[in-house]
């Protein structure tokens, strides 16, 4: 049992504030006991020589160490300047009221801790308590920005502010997946996930500090090149051409994917990661929309073919730019609505969060693909042979789509119709657990962060998946339906990491693949389990 840590300990210099020892992590059942003594592989000294690594066993951002005392002090001043701005309407009208309410009313009852999968799976490490980082920010704010704060801090909770505090706080803000499960259980309504989100914003918007996967290679690249994948419009068109051909080869169904159709009813926005990593998802959408006779289009305009909006995790400015860009493209295409493909954070970013950003002609209706697909599947427009999906299926609920948007039942009604062996995870729906890849973690893998994700933040979801299929024989292929690109990425990685394909015959994919797999007029299956087709043609 490691010693307990208090918020004030964040300021005390040490090489590693929180270390995971063998046996600390929550145990996994057979045949995964060999992972119960696992720890995070040490960071290679030559790679982390000049960056801050003193929080724990991993690094998400890789903040360069200040070269001098003066630089340290300047960074502390910059941090305080950013903190002040979080509480000004000119700078933070976007979240000012939620932030103030959560900062001022926490009763420190720790109810949130029991709801947090990272805290639980880490072996209940104090730094992973949802209120830990919130309390650090609260203490800094009260002490350094409120009148008389240095005196009242002795009574209300003290903390020193130095470079160590700041560097660790920045890193710590990337140990929470922003799943907001903690916020649903808070009896008062305090949202520690939100405070974490605001910490990330402070670092990005004032100090230019953010993981490169989210900023440089993420939102910046998306605005500059067109996609966080690096694909420009030409490359994306090539890839889609390839998908069209592949779909015909795989399913025997010829599909034409429309581009830039002015006046189409629907602009379909995919996470461009699907195009590269899960092309069958993009193809399956096209098959369903075409078979149902929908009027729809993709956009080949820069940013218009990538639904991702990483800003929603760390930077309001980047978030606003991408959201405006998406809707402006839809406006110029004169579509009736934007349909969000299988990408949870893009759902929330454009449909809910941006709802209080978009005005006038930019406020184009946005709809979840779960809803569009439910209408198609349940309306009788397509014929299904559900027996083709005669394998165990469970559903992962993407936090952003379910807990943050209340889109719970459409995907379930579809599965009940087309997947006869569908079963729920426990708990599920709005009480679900995050895949562990939330808030950008699925795409962050620098240093040894992917190891941390697989071992700690994805662990609860892995346990849930195993439990959902525990009554099935090992040799039967099992399908985890995850209608979200980032969740799929995290589930793919956990299956690889724990060798779960070999040990449990676990497979994963989206919802549309299951729909197409059950369509009566498909000549061949779209879902394969390794080399094996899911049904014989």
């Amino acid at each position: 049992m490691s010693k307990s840590l208090k918020p004030s300990d964040l300021a005390k210099p040490s090489d590693c504030l929180c270390h995971i020892e063998p046996g600390d992590l929550s145990p996994l059942p057979p045949p995964y006991e060999d992972f119960n003594q696992a720890t995070i592989p040490p960071l290679k000294p030559e790679k982390v020589n000049n960056i801050e690594t003193s929080l724990d066993d991993t690094v998400a951002i890789g903040i360069p160490k200040p070269a001098s005392k003066e630089e340290e002090e300047a960074l502390v001043r910059q941090f305080l300047s950013g903190l002040k701005k979080l509480f000004e309407k000119e700078n933070n009208w976007t979240f000012l009221q939620p932030l103030l309410l959560s900062m001022e009313h926490c009763a420190k009852c720790q109810t949130c801790a029991n709801a947090c999968p990272v805290y639980e799976m880490s072996g209940k490490k104090d730094i992973h308590r949802p209120m830990f980082r919130a309390e650090v920010l609260r203490r800094i704010y009260n002490k350094y920005l409120k009148p008389g704060g240095k005196i009242t801090a002795k009574l209300t909770g003290d903390i020193d502010l130095n470079w160590t505090t700041i560097a660790r706080l920045a890193e710590l803000s990337y140990r929470c997946t922003l799943c907001r499960r903690c916020a649903t259980v808070c009896p008062i309504g305090v949202d520690n996930g939100l405070i974490n989100h605001e910490i990330r914003k402070l670092f990005s918007q004032e100090m230019g500090v953010a993981p490169k996967e989210l900023h440089d290679k993420g939102s910046t690249q998306q605005l500059r090149v067109g996609s966080s994948t690096g694909m420009n419009p030409l490359a994306v068109k090539d890839s889609i051409d390839f998908i069209q051909e592949e779909m015909e080869e795989i399913t025997g169904y010829k599909v034409d994917i429309p581009w830039d159709v002015e006046g189409a009813d629907i602009l379909l926005l995919h996470n461009a990661g699907e195009i590269l990593s899960w092309p069958e998802n993009v193809g399956a959408f096209a098959i369903i929309f075409q078979a149902a006779g929908l009027s729809w289009t993709l956009s080949s305009e820069t940013t218009g073919y990538d639904a991702v909006n990483y800003g929603v995790w760390y930077d309001d400015i980047q978030f606003a730019r991408v959201a405006v860009r998406h809707t402006d493209i839809a406006r110029r295409l004169k579509v009736k609505k934007i349909v969000m493909g299988e990408c949870g954070h893009a759902h929330k970013a454009l449909t809910v969060t941006a709802d209080r950003l978009l005005t006038g002609e930019l406020n184009i209706p946005r709809e979840s693909a779960m809803v569009t697909l439910e209408d198609i599947v349940l309306s009788g427009k397509l014929q299904f042979a559900p027996i083709r999906n005669n394998f165990p299926v469970t559903l992962h609920d993407p936090c952003n789509m379910v807990r943050s948007m209340g889109i719970v039942e459409p995907q379930r009604r579809i599965l009940r119709k087309i997947a006869p062996r569908f079963r729920e995870m426990t708990p599920h729906s709005v009480e679900n657990y995050c895949c562990g890849g939330g808030s950008g973690f699925a795409i962050m893998s620098g240093y040894n962060f992917a190891e941390w994700r697989n071992l700690v933040s994805s662990r609860k979801k892995f346990l849930q998946i195993l439990t959902a299929f525990q009554d099935e024989p090992q040799e039967i292929p099992k399908y985890v339906c995850a209608p979200c690109s980032n969740c799929k990425g995290a589930i793919r990685d956990m299956i690889d990491y724990y060798h779960a394909e070999e040990r449990s015959h676990l497979y994963y994919g989206g919802l549309v693949e299951l729909i197409v797999n059950a369509m009566a007029n498909m000549k061949k299956p779209i879902i394969r389990f390794g080399e094996e087709p899911s049904w014989e043609s």
Partner: protein, 314 residues
């Protein structure tokens, strides 16, 4: 008279501080949506599983509806019985429930005492000595007062004890956290002792509240603060009234905003509506964030920045 002056000042502080808190909330700019489901004012079956109107095809063509009944059905047990804590943190509920319910009963007792005082001042005919209404009200005051004091004492002692012995709570508790609960305990204890030692039917409390409404000129010859515990109870209750809105304990009523303005704020932005007007105002604000990619120069508005690509991207 000194007691009354103290009470008046404390009530004034309460009104001002609470007024300020509420005023600040209602004048803050409209923020982006950040609701979390289940949203308890959802209609129909959706509320049971946490669904939203976003599950409807072409949801924007339909009227936005919310159910006050569903909301109250959730909020009543949440407010009175701390339903969320019961579900998620049972061991804390065991001490937190009596603590909070004791406070609620004290507030209810104060309300009944005010009613009692008003009836006397108005010389309400049906409130004559020995009348059914008066007997009923007297009985209610004794009932809520005693139950509240007993629960409050058990609860505040329990909360103090739990905060002290449970490492999860202890490691995050500051002096102020203990002081707050200790302060409340002081009131509960002194009031209970005052009742036990010579005022089991709360005559002193009735007289004091009557005096509050008459500027100390009580029609009742009872003189408040006759006993030391009685004096302590009056002083601590008055000071608590002023103190609570200055601390995080204001969550008792600020919870309304946490729920209604954030957790359940799912109202869609319609073209030409009031939310859109508020957003347009927000987009005129001029940020000063310093990171390069923001490109805020103090002149550009949020609207300008959101619709531009920064230089590093061009």
């Amino acid at each position: 008279m000194g007691f009354y002056v103290l009470s008046y000042i404390c009530v004034a502080v309460f009104i001002l501080a609470t007024g300020y808190r509420v005023y600040r909330q209602i004048t803050l700019p409209v923020h982006v949506r950040w609701e979390i489901y289940p949203v308890q004012h959802e209609t129909g079956a959706k509320v049971a599983y946490g669904g939203s109107y976003l599950e409807e095809l072409n949801w924007w063509e339909k009227k936005y509806e919310s159910s006050l009944f569903n909301e109250l059905k959730y909020m009543a047990p949440e407010i009175f019985f701390l339903r969320g804590l019961w579900k998620e943190n049972r061991s804390l509920w065991r001490v937190s429930f009596p603590f909070h319910f004791g406070l609620y009963l004290m507030i209810a007792t104060f309300g009944l005492l005010l009613l009692h005082a008003c009836f006397i001042l108005w010389r309400f005919p049906a409130f004559a000595a020995g009348s059914t209404i008066r007997t009923l009200l007297d009985g209610l005051i004794i009932f809520t007062g005693w139950i509240g004091l007993i629960l409050g004492n058990i609860g505040s002692l329990g909360v103090l004890y739990k905060r002290r012995i449970d490492p999860e709570l202890r490691d995050y508790s500051s002096f102020a956290d203990y002081f707050n609960v200790g302060f409340i305990f002081l009131f509960f204890l002194s009031a209970l002792v005052a009742c036990l030692l010579g005022d089991p039917v709360l005559e002193g409390a009735k007289a004091y509240v009557l005096g509050l409404l008459t500027g100390g000129h009580s029609l009742n010859p009872y003189v408040p603060g006759q006993s030391v515990p009685g004096k302590v109870a009056i002083v601590s209750a008055s000071l608590l009234t002023a103190y609570i809105p200055l601390t995080h304990m204001s969550h008792m009523y600020m919870k309304y905003f946490l729920y209604h303005d954030v957790k359940w704020d799912d109202a869609p932005n319609r073209r030409g509506g009031s939310i859109e007007a508020a957003i347009l105002k927000n987009l005129e604000l001029k940020p000063t964030w310093k990171a390069k990619h923001v490109e805020a120069d103090g002149r550009k508005t949020w609207g300008d920045i959101a619709s531009s690509a920064p230089k590093e991207m061009k």
